[in-house]
C-alpha cells in the first residue's frame, strides 16, 4: 500500500497533491501532535524549490520548508525574524519545524507568521492550476482557517526589506523555553527627515487571527515626533477599540492590558 510520497521536485509534488488528496507534511511538529493518523502524507523535505533563502534589492525570500534553525543560521534573515524564531520551542523542534507549517497551521500565536504580518510579507502559493501571491493577511479567514485550497502548496514568503531596521518584538510566555506565547507584540518604526516614514504594529492575543491594522498605523505616518506625541492618545485609543482578545491561556482582560502597555512602551522608546 502506498500511504506516503516523498517527491523530489515541486511540480511532482503539485501533481501528486492534485490527484491524490494528500496532506502536506513539512516538519511534522504540528501534524504529529494532532493525534496519530494513518493518512496519505505528502512529505516536502526533499523538494529543493522549498528550501531557499535569497535576497533581491528590495525583498527577502524564504522557502516554505526552511526550518527555524536554518533561519537562525542564515546570514540573510533579518534580526526581527531571528529574534522571534529563537524563542520558538526548543533546539530540536526548531530543527524540524518550518515557516510554511507555521503559516499553514493557522494559529494566531504562530511566532514566525506573526513577523510576516508586521512586515507586510506576501506568500507565494502554487498548484497545478497556476500560481498566486497574496499578502499574508489575506490568507487567514479565521481561527485555524486559511484561504488555501486542498491542491495548493505554500512555496515561499516574500518579505519587503525596506522598513526592517528599527523594530521591537515582545513574546510574553510563561517560561524561557518551550513556551507557547501568551501575548505577542511587534512594532516597526522608521523616522526619516524628522518624520515618521513607516509605522507598523501587530498583536497576538487569541482573537482568532493575528491583528494587523495598517489603517490605524497610518494615523502616525507623515507626522513629526512632536505631532506624533499629540496624536498618541487617539492612536492608542484606536487600538483599544480594535483589539478584542479572546479567552486563551490567559484572560482577555490581561491580554488587553499587556497589549496596550506594550504599545505605549514601544511609542515611548521611539521618543513619542
Amino acid at each position: 500500500m502506498v500511504d506516503g510520497y516523498t517527491p523530489r521536485s515541486l511540480s511532482e509534488a503539485l501533481s501528486l497533491l492534485s490527484s491524490h488528496g494528500l496532506t502536506p507534511y513539512a516538519g511534522g511538529t504540528d501534524l504529529m501532535t494532532k493525534g496519530y493518523r494513518h493518512e496519505g502524507y505528502l512529505f516536502l523535505h526533499r523538494i529543493p524549490e522549498l528550501r531557499h533563502i535569497t535576497e533581491t534589492r528590495s525583498e527577502l525570500r524564504f522557502g516554505a520548508c526552511c526550518t527555524f534553525t536554518e533561519i537562525l543560521e542564515s546570514k540573510t534573515a533579518p534580526a526581527i525574524l531571528k529574534e522571534a524564531v529563537s524563542r520558538i520551542a526548543s533546539p530540536s523542534i526548531r530543527n524540524l519545524g518550518t515557516i510554511g507549517g507555521n503559516i499553514a497551521n493557522g494559529s494566531d500565536k504562530a511566532d514566525s507568521a506573526f513577523i510576516f504580518f508586521v512586515t507586510d510579507s506576501s506568500v507565494r502559493i502554487a498548484s497545478c492550476r497556476g500560481e498566486r501571491t497574496v499578502p499574508i493577511k489575506d490568507l487567514y479567514l479565521g481561527r485555524n482557517k486559511l484561504a488555501l485550497e486542498r491542491d495548493e502548496l505554500i512555496v515561499e514568503v516574500i518579505m519587503p526589506k525596506r522598513w526592517l531596521g528599527n523594530y521591537r518584538y515582545e513574546k510574553i510566555g510563561a517560561r524561557k523555553s518551550l513556551a507557547i506565547s501568551l501575548v505577542l507584540f511587534a512594532g516597526l518604526m522608521s523616522i526619516e527627515d524628522g518624520k515618521i516614514a513607516h509605522c507598523a504594529t501587530s498583536y497576538g492575543v487569541d482573537s482568532g487571527v493575528i491583528v494587523r491594522r495598517s489603517d490605524i498605523d497610518e494615523i502616525m505616518i507623515g507626522l513629526t515626533v512632536e505631532e506624533a506625541r499629540a496624536a498618541k492618545d487617539s492612536y492608542i485609543k484606536a487600538y483599544d477599540g480594535a483589539i478584542s482578545p479572546g479567552r486563551g491561556r490567559v484572560s482577555a482582560e490581561y491580554s488587553k492590558v499587556v497589549c496596550m502597555n506594550l504599545l505605549a512602551d514601544f511609542l515611548s522608546s521611539m521618543g513619542i
Binding site: 516523498t6 516538519g27 502524507y41 523535505h45 526548543s90
Partner: protein
C-alpha cells in the same frame, strides 16, 4: 511503502506505513530502546535522535520524513570517542540518576558541542532546553557538559 534511510551508519529499508512514528519503529522494530517515550508530543526530549546531523524528536517524525536521511540513536553514538568523553563526564559528577532523560541529553550535548565546542553555561542551558530531567535539577548535567568540553578539547 519502502522507506530507505541510514540507521546508525547502516543502509536500512523500512517496510511499513509512512505515517508510523520513528520513535515506535526504533523501539519496536529495531529494538533501539535508548529512545524513550516521555510525552509523545515534543515536550520532553527523551525521544531525541540525531537526524542528518541535527537533534530531532523522534516522536514528532513520521517514517516518511526520514526517507533519504541519516538517523543516529544513542546506540550508534556510543561507539564514538566523543561519547566516551561525555560518558566519563556525566559519571564523574553524578549527572545521571534514573537515566530516563540521559540518552536524549547526551545526544543534545553532542549536537551542541558539534557547533559550539566551548559553550558558556548559558549556551549549555539553551542547548538542552528541550530536554527535561525530573531528577538532577540540571546543575550536574550542565557541569558534566562543561567538563566534557574541557576534557574532549579538540574532539569537537
Amino acid at each position: 511503502m519502502l522507506i530507505r534511510f541510514t540507521l546508525n551508519g547502516e543502509d536500512t529499508v523500512y517496510e511499513g506505513s509512512a505515517s508510523d512514528r520513528l520513535l515506535d519503529v526504533l523501539r519496536n522494530k529495531y529494538r533501539l530502546c535508548g529512545v524513550k517515550c516521555g510525552c509523545g508530543e515534543g515536550e520532553c526530549g527523551a525521544c531525541c535522535v540525531i537526524l542528518d546531523g541535527r537533534l530531532a524528536n523522534s516522536c514528532l517524525a513520521a517514517m516518511g520524513r526520514v526517507e533519504g536521511l541519516d538517523v543516529v540513536t544513542i546506540e550508534g553514538y556510543r561507539t564514538t570517542e566523543r561519547f566516551k568523553v561525555l560518558d566519563r563526564a556525566f559519571a564523574s559528577v553524578a549527572a545521571v540518576q534514573c537515566g530516563y532523560c540521559t540518552p536524549g541529553i547526551v545526544l543534545a550535548s553532542e549536537c551542541l558541542l558539534a557547533v559550539n565546542p566551548h559553550p558558556t553555561r548559558e549556551e549549555i542551558r539553551l542547548g538542552i532546553s528541550g530536554n527535561l530531567c525530573r531528577c538532577t535539577g540540571y546543575n550536574a548535567i550542565v557541569r558534566a557538559i562543561e567538563i566534557a568540553a574541557w576534557e574532549g578539547d579538540g574532539l569537537w
